[in-house]
């Protein structure tokens, strides 16, 4: 079960708080998976008591100000609402990642980005499909750059129904590109040998340097990028949306823990 509690002293009205939380959760907690099972108890609660003190630098900074006793709403303080939403989303991502890092038996932290989809929901559904594939997760546990399993999970993803009613959008197999990219931390440290590795380009398998692949996949953090390049059918030309999901590998330890948990 996922439980979360957030408490802030920001002055935000409940209606704005609810919509900011729903946005943040849709980009963080609803984008993580350990084992693909949804609990009966998953809950995130957020309290905002408005007791934050005035900032000493606030007068000089200009911009929106909240009077004592006032609260931010989407209409009354639109810039502050957007800023709060961004802050909350970023914070939720940070603590959602801790859940994945502590996934039962997890040894890998895996980021899956799906790009150039017609909608966020479509990109999210495809990323979710990859993130819950037992075979993908086993391959990642074994350090195997198995693009075939990734592609398979892309192909059977249950896509949201087309809202337009015209020609449906489709994944175009001849456009899909899969890349293993170095995690941000390795890139920032300038560590050698962690170059991006394209394993499938425009639907065609690429030669893989097994040594480089082994080094990249030996890292605890693994990043996979799936570029749909717009797909085909309705809205293909303007398909520029992306979604990111976070998952972990599937290890023998997961089975050991859950074979022993008694209800």
């Amino acid at each position: 079960t996922l439980l979360g509690l957030l408490a802030t002293d920001a002055p935000v009205h409940p209606s704005a708080l609810q919509s900011a939380l729903e946005h943040a959760v849709s980009r963080s907690f609803n984008c993580i998976s350990v084992d693909g099972d949804m609990s009966t108890n998953d809950t995130i609660l957020l309290l905002a008591n408005g007791l934050a003190p005035r900032s000493s630098s606030s007068a000089a900074s200009g911009g929106e100000q909240v009077k004592p006793g006032d609260e931010i709403t989407e209409a009354s303080h639109p810039q502050s609402y957007e800023a709060f939403k961004r802050e909350l989303t970023d914070f939720c991502k940070e603590i959602a990642h801790l859940i994945v890092r502590d996934g039962e038996g997890a040894e890998k932290f895996v980021e899956i980005k799906v790009k150039n989809a017609p909608s966020y929901e479509t990109a999210h559904a495809i990323a979710s499909s990859i993130s819950t594939s037992s075979l993908v997760k086993c391959a990642l546990h074994g350090g195997d750059a198995n693009w075939g399993r990734i592609l398979c999970a892309v192909g059977y993803a249950p896509l949201p129904a087309s809202a337009s009613g015209k020609e449906a959008w489709r994944i175009d197999p001849s456009k899909v590109t899969v890349t293993f990219t170095p995690p941000a931390l390795a890139s920032e440290r300038g560590q050698d040998g962690y170059e991006a590795m394209v394993v499938l380009k425009d639907g065609t398998p690429q030669p893989v340097d097994e040594e480089k692949a082994a080094r990249l996949l030996a890292l605890e953090d693994i990043c996979i990028e799936v570029d749909l390049q717009g797909g085909s059918g309705a809205a293909a030309a303007s398909a520029r949306e992306e979604a990111t999901y976070w998952t972990c590998d599937l290890s023998k330890e997961y089975v050991a823990i859950n074979g022993d948990y008694r209800s």
């Binding site: 802030t8 900011a20 007791l51 630098s57 914070f91 940070e94």
Partner: protein, 251 residues
């Protein structure tokens, strides 16, 4: 991006909290109520009993309370699973009821327990969840209980406390253990805003988690120096698809 996960996750992911990043006006308390032991069909290993004679290890807390010094604006997202646990139904309903008022949902406290999910527990599970909420509200507002009529008192109580439960499904909450601990949790001597108390509260959330998950940070917003603290838990049965409070409620 460490090459291996061999180092303990606790040592790598439990960060010290800077008290300056903790939000104003929130206090917490936690205790070991023995929830899992009370519902377990087999003996739960007792950390204190198995420890060496020279080192006594306290059991992990499993019941915690978070209190705002003034009723706080509240929001929530909940599982879309058809079998919503009683605390999910109760908390969702409190937020829905509060949203119908001009000021929106205002919440004073949140009670959290681990060890028992109070899920698929039928009518008794709902009664237990409501009683938990009422017990906390009573203990935090003794003056209110004495001065107001029953109907008004009950209405206010339900708006004041939200619930979070996690653990084993299909077993009733051990209410005796919870009733016994609530006076302690709500005591002014125990409720505190210090960073160690927040860490203990994060530990109270844990089930099969190997480390407590607690973060805090500060940010500027509309002329205020704001802070936010967050606790979460979960290691298995993790694939959330939560949405706002729903009118389709089950228990």
């Amino acid at each position: 991006a460490a090459p291996s996960a061999s180092t303990s996750k606790w040592s790598r992911f439990v960060m010290p909290i800077d008290p300056a990043h903790l939000p104003k006006g929130f206090v917490v308390s936690s205790t070991y109520a023995g929830i899992k032991a009370a519902i377990s069909p087999k003996p739960v290993p007792d950390a204190s009993a198995s420890a060496s004679t020279t080192t006594k290890v306290s059991p992990k807390p499993d019941l915690a309370l978070i209190v705002s010094s003034k009723p706080a604006a509240a929001a929530g997202t909940f599982t879309r699973n058809v079998f919503k646990a009683a605390p999910v139904v109760v908390s969702s309903q409190v937020l829905l009821d509060g949203a119908k008022t001009p000021e929106g949902p205002r919440i004073k406290s949140i009670l959290v327990n681990s060890g028992c999910a109070n899920a698929v527990t039928g009518e008794q599970g709902m009664k237990d969840a409501v009683e938990c909420s009422d017990l906390v509200a009573d203990a935090l507002s003794p003056a209110l209980s004495r001065s107001e009529g029953d109907a008004e008192k009950k209405k206010k109580k339900k708006e004041e406390t939200l619930l979070l439960s996690t653990g084993v499904i299909g077993v009733p909450l051990p209410m005796q253990a919870i009733r016994k601990c609530i006076p302690h949790l709500t005591s002014g001597n125990v409720l505190t805003g210090d960073k160690d108390a927040w860490l203990e509260t994060a530990r109270a959330f844990m089930t099969t988690d190997t480390f407590p998950k607690l973060r805090a940070r500060s940010f500027e917003l509309a002329g205020r120096k704001c802070s936010i603290v967050g606790i979460d838990k979960g290691a298995g049965m993790i694939h959330p698809a939560m949405s706002g409070p729903s009118t389709t409620l089950h228990a």
